[in-house]
C-alpha cells in the first residue's frame, strides 16, 4: 500500500484566485499540486506561460479544469473559492468525494441560505440556522467529515514574495491539523494549531468588518491613535459577535483573530480596507464594487453580522454604524461621531 502514501499523492487546490494560487505555490514546495480552475483559458495560460495573476507558478503545480480528476488523485484538498460560490462549488465536487478525503479551506466568509425571494434585509431574522461557516457547508454538502480551515494574516502578495508569515490550521481532528502543518510549513511560513474550527472561521470572517472601518478612518486622514482605538474596540466586538455565533474566545486572541485583524487593518492592499478608504473619500459603494476584480467579503459580512447581532441581541456598534454607512447613506463622519460620543466605558468585560 506504500504507493498511495501521502508523499506520493498530489495535493489538490480548488480556485485559482490570488490566495488559491499562492497557496498552491506554497504547497508545491513540499508536494505535487493539482490546481483546479473553472476557466479553461486560465488552465491553458498557466500551462503555457507558468505565470498567473502576475505570479510565477511552480512547475509542481498542474492546472486542471476537471474536478473528478482532482478528487480521484488527491486525498487532501484545499478549497479556496469565495464564499458566494462555495456551496455551488461543493455541490459540484461532492459526487467525487469520499469519507477518506480531507478538506482544508481558506475562505473567509459566511454562507447564507434564505427562503426563495427573500434578501438578508427582508427576512424576519437571521440565525445560525441560515448562517453557516464554510466547514459547515462542506459537511452539509458532502460526506467529508475531516475538515479544517486556514486563517491568519495571509496577504497573498506578501506570501508570494516569500515574506515571513503565519497561519492557523484549525480542525476538530488532530490528524487534519498535523497534515495541514506538514504540507504548508516551510522556513518562511509558520503554522499554528487550533481545535476550535468554528471560532477560527468566524474570527477570519468578522475581521473583514473592522478592516472596512479601518480603511474608512484612513480615508478620513486620521492617524495611529484612531487606528489603535478601532482595532482594540473592534476586537472586543468580534468577541461578542463570535461568541453569539458559536466561537470560543481563544480563537479571537490568536493568529487568526488579533493577528489577522492587525494585518488587514494596516494594509492598503487589502480589498476590504480599500472599500472603506474609498467610501471615506466620498465614493459610492456600487462604484467601488464595480471596479474590483475580486470580491470584498467584508461588505456582505456587514449585512449578515448586523442582522445576526439584532437577533442574538449583541451590542455591535461598529458593525451597526458601518451598515448605515454602506447601505443607508450615512456618511463616515457621522458614523464616527456617533461612536465617539457613545457612553460606553468598560474596556474589557469578557475575560
Amino acid at each position: 500500500m506504500t504507493s498511495s502514501s501521502l508523499s506520493d499523492k498530489p495535493v489538490g487546490v480548488i480556485g485559482a484566485g490570488n490566495f488559491g494560487s499562492v497557496i498552491a505555490n506554497i504547497l508545491a514546495l513540499n508536494r505535487r499540486v493539482i490546481l483546479y480552475a473553472r476557466d479553461e483559458a486560465v488552465v491553458n495560460s498557466i500551462l503555457n506561460t507558468r505565470v498567473h495573476r502576475g505570479y510565477p507558478m511552480s512547475h509542481h503545480v498542474e492546472p486542471t479544469s476537471d474536478m473528478a480528476y482532482l478528487a480521484s488523485h488527491c486525498d487532501v484538498i484545499f478549497p479556496m473559492v469565495p464564499s458566494a460560490h462555495f456551496r455551488e462549488m461543493m455541490k459540484k465536487l461532492s459526487p467525487y468525494l469520499h469519507p477518506y478525503h480531507i478538506l482544508i479551506h481558506g475562505t473567509k466568509g459566511f454562507d447564507i441560505t434564505l427562503p426563495e425571494g427573500q434578501t438578508i434585509e427582508s427576512v424576519s431574522k437571521l440565525t445560525r440556522e441560515q448562517v453557516k461557516t464554510m466547514s459547515e457547508v462542506i459537511k452539509e454538502e458532502s460526506v467529508v467529515v475531516r475538515v479544517g480551515c486556514l486563517a491568519g494574516p495571509n496577504l497573498a502578495k506578501e506570501l508570494a514574495q516569500r515574506q515571513p508569515g503565519a497561519t492557523v490550521v484549525a480542525s476538530h481532528f488532530n490528524e487534519v491539523i498535523q497534515i495541514g502543518k506538514k504540507l504548508l510549513r516551510n522556513d518562511r511560513f509558520q503554522v499554528y494549531e487550533n481545535n476550535d474550527i468554528v471560532g477560527v472561521e468566524i474570527a477570519g470572517v468578522l475581521k473583514n468588518i473592522i478592516a472596512i472601518a479601518s480603511g474608512a478612518l484612513s480615508g478620513l486622514g486620521y492617524g495611529e491613535n484612531a487606528k489603535g482605538l478601532l482595532i482594540s474596540r473592534g476586537a472586543v466586538e468580534m468577541v461578542y459577535l463570535g461568541r453569539a455565533l458559536g466561537g470560543d474566545l481563544k480563537a479571537f486572541l490568536g493568529v487568526a483573530g488579533i493577528g489577522d485583524l492587525v494585518t488587514t487593518c494596516n494594509s492598503p492592499m487589502s480589498r476590504n480596507f480599500t472599500v472603506g478608504y474609498r467610501l471615506a473619500k466620498g465614493e459610492k459603494l456600487e462604484a467601488i464594487l464595480a471596479d474590483m476584480t475580486e470580491i470584498a467579503e467584508g461588505v456582505n459580512t456587514v449585512r449578515i453580522a448586523k442582522k445576526c447581532a439584532d437577533h442574538y441581541k449583541v451590542r455591535a456598534l461598529i458593525t451597526d454604524r458601518l451598515y448605515k454607512v454602506l447601505f443607508e447613506g450615512m456618511t463616515v463622519e457621522e458614523a464616527l461621531e456617533f461612536l465617539m460620543r457613545y457612553p460606553l466605558n468598560v474596556d474589557i468585560d469578557f475575560l
Partner: protein
C-alpha cells in the same frame, strides 16, 4: 403511514430471525464465558499499559484506584457488592505499597496487581446468559402478563385464563421494525433507547423478544441488581453489569473493552446512552460517550482485521424512544433534578422502589388504561449515516458511502483515538436529533406541556423555583382557554410531523375535548398526587406542579413555547 404501521403491528407475532438459541451470539458468548473474560482482561491490560506507560504513572493510577475503591466501600455500600470486597482491596493496597517501595524488577509485581484488579472487574462485569433461565423468564413474563391483562379487562367469569388480550395491546411498537429485523441478520445491532424509568430494561427486553430478535446484551446499572426481582430478570436476559460508582481507569477500560469485544463477536447490544435515567424528564441532550465509542472502535477493528474482505460485519446503531404516560419514579427523579439545578450539588443514586412497589405498579398498569409505545428509529452506521435494507450507508443525496473510508488515512486503515473521539461526539449528536425526530407525542405529554407553560406565563416574574413554590390552590386554568391553547399547540405538532420532526400517537387526533380528556386522565396516572385534574367547575388544576413540570419537559426542545 403512522396509523397503518400501528395497525399492522397489532397482534401480529414476528417469527424469530434465528431458529435456535444456540445460534444466538449472546449464547456463544456466555458458553465461552471463561475464555471471553480472559480475553477482555488481557486486552484491557494492554490498553491500560498504553495509557499509563511509565512505572510511576501506573503506580499512581493503581494507588488512586485502591483509594477510590476503599472509599466506595466505606461510603456507599450496596447489597450486590461481594463479601470479600474490603479484604481484596486491603490486600491489593498492601502489595502495592510493597511493590512501589521496591526499585528493581518490580514491574512484574505491578503487572500482577493490575491483572488481579482487571480480572476481578472483568468477572464482575461479564453477564451469564443461561438459555434455560431465559426461556423460563420469558414464558413467565408472558404468562403472568396475559393473566393480569385478561383478568383485569375481560369482566367475565373465567376471564383470568383467557388470551383475549396480550401485552401487544398494551405496548405498541411502531417505526422501522422490518429494517431492524433485516439488519439484525446482516450485522450487529446496537440499540440506543432513551432512558426514563427502571422499567425500561425489562420493556426493551420484551420488545426485542416480541420482534423475534435474539437476546441482546445490556449494560445494566449495578444498582438494579440490588432489587432482587430485577436481578433475576437481568441475569437471565444476558445483562452485563455497569457500576457507576467506579470511575477509575482500570474499571472503565475493562468495561469498554467488554462491550467492544462483545460487539466485535457479533453480540447485539443495548446501551442507554444517557447513562442514567433522565432526571428532568427531558429527552436526553448529552450522551455518555464512553460506551458509544466502543461501537466505533469495534467497527474500526473489524475493518482493520479484515483489510481485504469485501464484506465486513457492519455495526448498526438503532435509536429507540420509549413513550410513557406515567413514570413510576417521576417524583423522585424530578426532585433530584431540581435539587441539583438549584444547588449544584452532587446527589447519590437512590432507589426507593423495592420489588413490592414494582409489582403494585405492574398490577395497576395492567388493570387501568395507559399504554406504552416504543418507537424504533431508522438504523444508522457508526458515523450516523442512515443505512438501507441491505445495510449500505447512504448520504443525504442518496449516494452510497463506504463506512470503511472514515477510518482510512493516507490510503490505509488506521487507529486514531482523537479522531474516534470526535466521531463519537458526532454520532451522539445524531442520536439526540433522531430521538427528537422519532419521539411520539401522547395527549398526556401535550396536556402537561400546555398546562405548565400556561401557568408559567401567568406568573412571568417568577423563575422556575418560585413558580414551583406556589401553593397549588393558586393554580387554576380556565377550561376554554386551556382548550384553545391545547388546540393551537396540537396544530403545531401536526406541522412538525409533516416536516418529519416528530411523531404523535394516533389518539392525539380527533375531537379536541376527547383528546384533552385522555391527556388529563393519563398524565402521571398512578401517582398519589395527580399532576392534572379537572375540578368541579370543570377547570384545570394540579395537585403536584413539580411532577407536572417533569412530564411537561418531554416536549421541551421543539420551540412549542411560542404557541402558548
Amino acid at each position: 403511514m403512522e396509523i397503518l404501521e400501528e395497525k399492522k403491528n397489532k397482534n401480529k407475532p414476528y417469527k424469530p430471525i434465528l431458529d435456535g438459541i444456540p445460534d444466538w451470539p449472546v449464547y456463544q458468548l456466555s458458553k465461552n464465558r471463561k475464555e471471553f473474560v480472559e480475553e477482555v482482561a488481557c486486552k484491557s491490560i494492554e490498553r491500560i499499559r498504553e495509557l499509563r506507560t511509565t512505572r510511576k504513572q501506573l503506580i499512581d493510577e493503581l494507588e488512586a484506584t485502591v483509594y477510590r475503591e476503599q472509599n466506595r466501600i466505606k461510603r456507599n455500600r450496596w447489597r450486590v457488592d461481594p463479601k470479600d470486597d474490603s479484604k481484596f482491596w486491603s490486600d491489593v493496597k498492601k502489595d502495592l505499597i510493597e511493590a512501589s517501595t521496591k526499585t528493581d524488577d518490580s514491574d512484574k509485581t505491578l503487572e500482577e496487581i493490575l491483572k488481579r484488579i482487571v480480572m476481578r472487574y472483568a468477572n464482575e462485569i461479564a453477564g451469564s446468559f443461561k438459555p434455560n433461565s431465559y426461556r423460563v423468564t420469558r414464558e413467565l413474563i408472558k404468562f403472568w402478563f396475559a393473566r393480569l391483562l385478561n383478568g383485569a379487562r375481560v369482566k367475565k367469569f373465567g376471564a383470568f385464563f383467557r388470551n383475549q388480550y396480550t401485552l401487544r395491546d398494551k405496548i405498541q411498537i411502531v417505526g422501522k421494525v422490518k429494517l431492524l429485523r433485516k439488519l439484525a441478520k446482516k450485522g450487529t445491532v446496537v440499540m440506543v433507547p432513551t432512558h426514563f424509568s427502571n422499567l425500561d430494561s425489562i420493556l426493551i427486553g420484551w420488545v426485542i423478544h416480541s420482534l423475534g430478535l435474539p437476546a441482546f446484551i445490556y449494560g445494566a446499572g449495578l444498582n438494579l441488581f440490588n432489587i432482587k426481582i430485577f436481578a433475576y430478570f437481568m441475569n437471565s436476559l444476558g445483562a452485563y453489569k455497569v457500576d457507576r460508582r467506579k470511575k477509575n481507569l482500570p474499571y472503565l477500560e475493562t468495561l469498554k473493552m467488554y462491550s467492544n469485544l462483545a460487539i466485535q463477536k457479533g453480540a447485539h447490544s443495548i446501551f442507554f446512552p444517557g447513562g442514567t435515567r433522565s432526571r428532568s424528564g427531558l429527552i436526553e441532550k448529552q450522551l455518555k460517550l464512553g460506551l458509544l465509542s466502543t461501537a466505533i472502535e469495534a467497527q474500526r477493528n473489524l475493518y482493520f482485521e479484515n483489510p481485504n474482505a469485501t464484506e465486513v460485519r457492519k455495526i448498526f446503531i438503532v435509536p429507540v424512544t420509549l413513550n410513557y404516560n406515567f413514570v413510576l419514579e417521576a417524583p423522585d427523579l424530578i426532585e433530584d433534578y431540581l435539587h441539583v439545578k438549584g444547588q449544584d450539588k452532587y446527589f447519590p443514586e437512590q432507589d426507593k422502589y423495592g420489588s413490592m412497589q414494582l409489582l403494585t405498579f405492574l398490577f395497576k398498569f395492567f388493570t387501568k388504561g395507559s399504554n406504552i409505545s416504543v418507537s424504533i428509529g431508522s438504523a444508522l452506521d457508526v458515523l450516523g449515516n442512515y443505512v438501507d435494507e441491505e445495510g449500505h450507508s447512504i448520504d443525504n443525496q442518496g449516494r452510497l458511502i463506504h463506512t470503511k473510508d472514515y477510518f482510512i488515512s493516507s490510503g490505509q486503515i488506521s487507529e486514531d483515538k482523537q479522531r474516534e473521539d470526535e466521531y463519537t461526539r458526532m454520532l451522539s449528536q445524531k442520536i439526540v436529533s433522531e430521538y427528537h425526530r422519532i419521539n411520539r407525542v401522547f395527549a398526556s405529554h401535550l396536556a402537561a406541556f400546555v398546562a405548565f407553560e400556561m401557568w408559567q406565563q401567568k406568573f412571568p416574574k417568577l423563575d422556575l423555583f418560585g413558580l414551583l413554590r406556589l401553593p397549588e390552590e393558586d393554580l387554576e386554568l380556565d377550561y376554554a382557554e386551556f382548550r384553545d391553547t391545547f388546540k393551537r399547540v396540537r396544530k403545531r405538532i401536526y406541522e412538525l410531523n409533516d416536516e418529519g420532526k416528530l411523531y404523535f400517537a394516533t389518539h392525539l387526533k380527533g375531537k379536541v375535548d376527547n383528546v384533552l380528556k385522555t391527556g388529563i386522565e393519563n398524565v402521571g396516572i398512578f401517582h398519589l398526587k395527580r399532576p392534572l385534574l379537572l375540578n368541579k367547575k370543570g377547570n384545570i388544576i394540579t395537585k403536584d406542579l413539580t411532577v407536572l413540570y417533569y412530564y411537561h419537559n418531554r416536549l421541551v426542545g421543539y420551540d412549542l413555547e411560542q404557541f402558548i
